[in-house]
């Protein structure tokens, strides 16, 4: 592969995934400029590792790099936020909402749904973003986040339970 050819193939296969990369980085870093920095750094890393890309679908491969770069960035620049990385959500038995009307009302408010997702610990937030926005399979999410499929399943179940409870419990402003 000549370098010009490599660059062209990179631009054809990976660069079009910028929107996915940006979305994940934006959710994890919490700010536009920071997400841009992370995406740019991720693309540099992706480019130098491009020869190692074997999969047919480059998206999980790129998102793995973006997630890793985001966490490295968080640890360096937002150590307080990164402390929450290993935080576990409460392990309670999921239950139907005590107040279904409140939940339904909250779900119709995009700003509140967004705030609820933002309040999740980063790895749970990543799982939700990868599943709901990027529509990755559990297997792909497991590969991107570097944990077993069972962990992906329980993280998603807990994250969703936590979202429901947060939304149900909040009073509208």
């Amino acid at each position: 592969l000549t370098s010009r050819e490599k660059r062209r193939r990179f631009e054809d296969t990976v660069v079009p995934l910028s929107a996915s990369a940006y979305n994940l980085a934006r959710w994890l870093t919490g700010a536009d400029q920071d997400a841009q920095d992370v995406v740019q750094e991720s693309f540099l890393r992706a480019f130098s590792a491009f020869d190692s890309l074997r999969a047919d679908d480059p998206r999980p491969w790129l998102l793995t790099i973006v997630r890793h770069t985001s966490f490295t960035w968080l640890k360096r620049n937002r150590p307080v936020a990164a402390w929450r990385e290993s935080e576990e959500l409460l392990d309670e038995t999921p239950a139907p909402a005590a107040n279904p009307e409140a939940l339904m009302l909250a779900l119709s408010d995009v700003a509140r749904v967004r705030a609820a997702v933002e309040s999740l610990p980063p790895d749970y937030r990543a799982a939700i973003v990868l599943r709901e926005f990027e529509e990755l399979s559990y297997k792909e999410i497991a590969a991107v986040t570097g944990v077993p499929i069972g962990t992906v399943m329980s993280r998603l179940a807990r994250a969703r339970e936590c979202l429901k409870r947060t939304l149900e419990g909040e009073r509208p402003k």
Binding site: S3, R4, Y22, A35, Q36, P96, A97, V110, A157
Partner: protein, 243 residues
């Protein structure tokens, strides 16, 4: 199948990640269990709400601007040169509009040095408090009539912490409330005033001349916390305040 199992597997079921046998047993359980049926409806509603495309963040810059810089030693071609030139122009525009000084970190924030200066000044003899009390119901009313807002005076988060008192200070071109807490011998200044706009800012921290400086905004208030206490304990304190 128990309700607990049903609710654990429901997400995988809705995500089409559950095997056929498991799916069948789950469906049988839900058909017979009204509580789990309601749980499923709520999960489906949550799912629909999360699939709202408005929740996705769209990059503001064009996709091209994320492409890596050209390889070392490549021969410039007219097309590539054009791409390069536009990249440079875009970078220049970003540089100009954002400015070098307006920045992302806190380091360039002029408030950091103001907060630190105020903290150090408060440690001079006799400067720390205007009202000396460990009782928040004494400290909070003291600010009445002295500030145009009523500052929140949080309880110390744990037994290691004590409220020492409060004083008026002047930061960001306005009078602000300074709350003084202590962790053993460490003095912590907490500055609080209403945010100019309804914004939430996550907790950030910065080390300046050996002092820890933390900042966040929520519920309409801007908070700055400064001390010589270590980052971990001060971070716990800041997170307790941010709750």
């Amino acid at each position: 199948m128990t309700c607990q199992d049903a609710r654990l597997y429901l997400d995988a079921y809705l995500d089409n990640e559950l095997d056929v046998a498991g799916s069948l047993r789950l469906e049988q359980h839900i058909a017979a269990c009204p509580a789990c049926a309601q749980f499923r409806r709520e999960s489906q509603m949550l799912r629909a709400a999360l699939r709202n495309p408005e929740l996705r963040y769209q990059p503001r810059l064009p996709v091209r601007s994320y492409a890596p810089p050209p390889l070392r030693g490549f021969l410039p071609q007219p097309a590539l040169a054009l791409v390069l030139a536009s990249l440079l122009l875009a970078a220049g525009a970003v540089f100009l509009t954002r400015g070098v000084f307006l920045s992302r970190g806190m380091r360039q924030d002029p408030l950091v040095s103001q907060v630190l200066a105020s903290h150090i000044r408060s440690l001079q003899p006799g400067h720390l408090t205007d009202v000396l009390s460990t009782d928040r119901h004494t400290v909070k009313p003291w600010f009445q009539g002295k500030l145009a807002f009523s500052p929140p005076v949080p309880d110390p988060p744990s037994a290691d912490w004590t409220l020492v008192g409060g004083r008026l200070d002047y930061l960001d071109n306005r009078p602000v409330a300074a709350l003084v807490y202590a962790w053993r011998k460490h003095t912590v200044n907490v500055f609080v005033w209403p945010s100019p706009h309804e914004s939430r800012e996550p907790l950030r921290q910065e080390t300046e001349q050996g002092y820890q400086i933390m900042h966040f905004a929520n519920a309409g208030m801007t908070w700055w916390i400064v001390s010589d206490l270590n980052a971990a304990d001060l971070g716990d304190f800041a997170r307790a305040l941010a709750k």
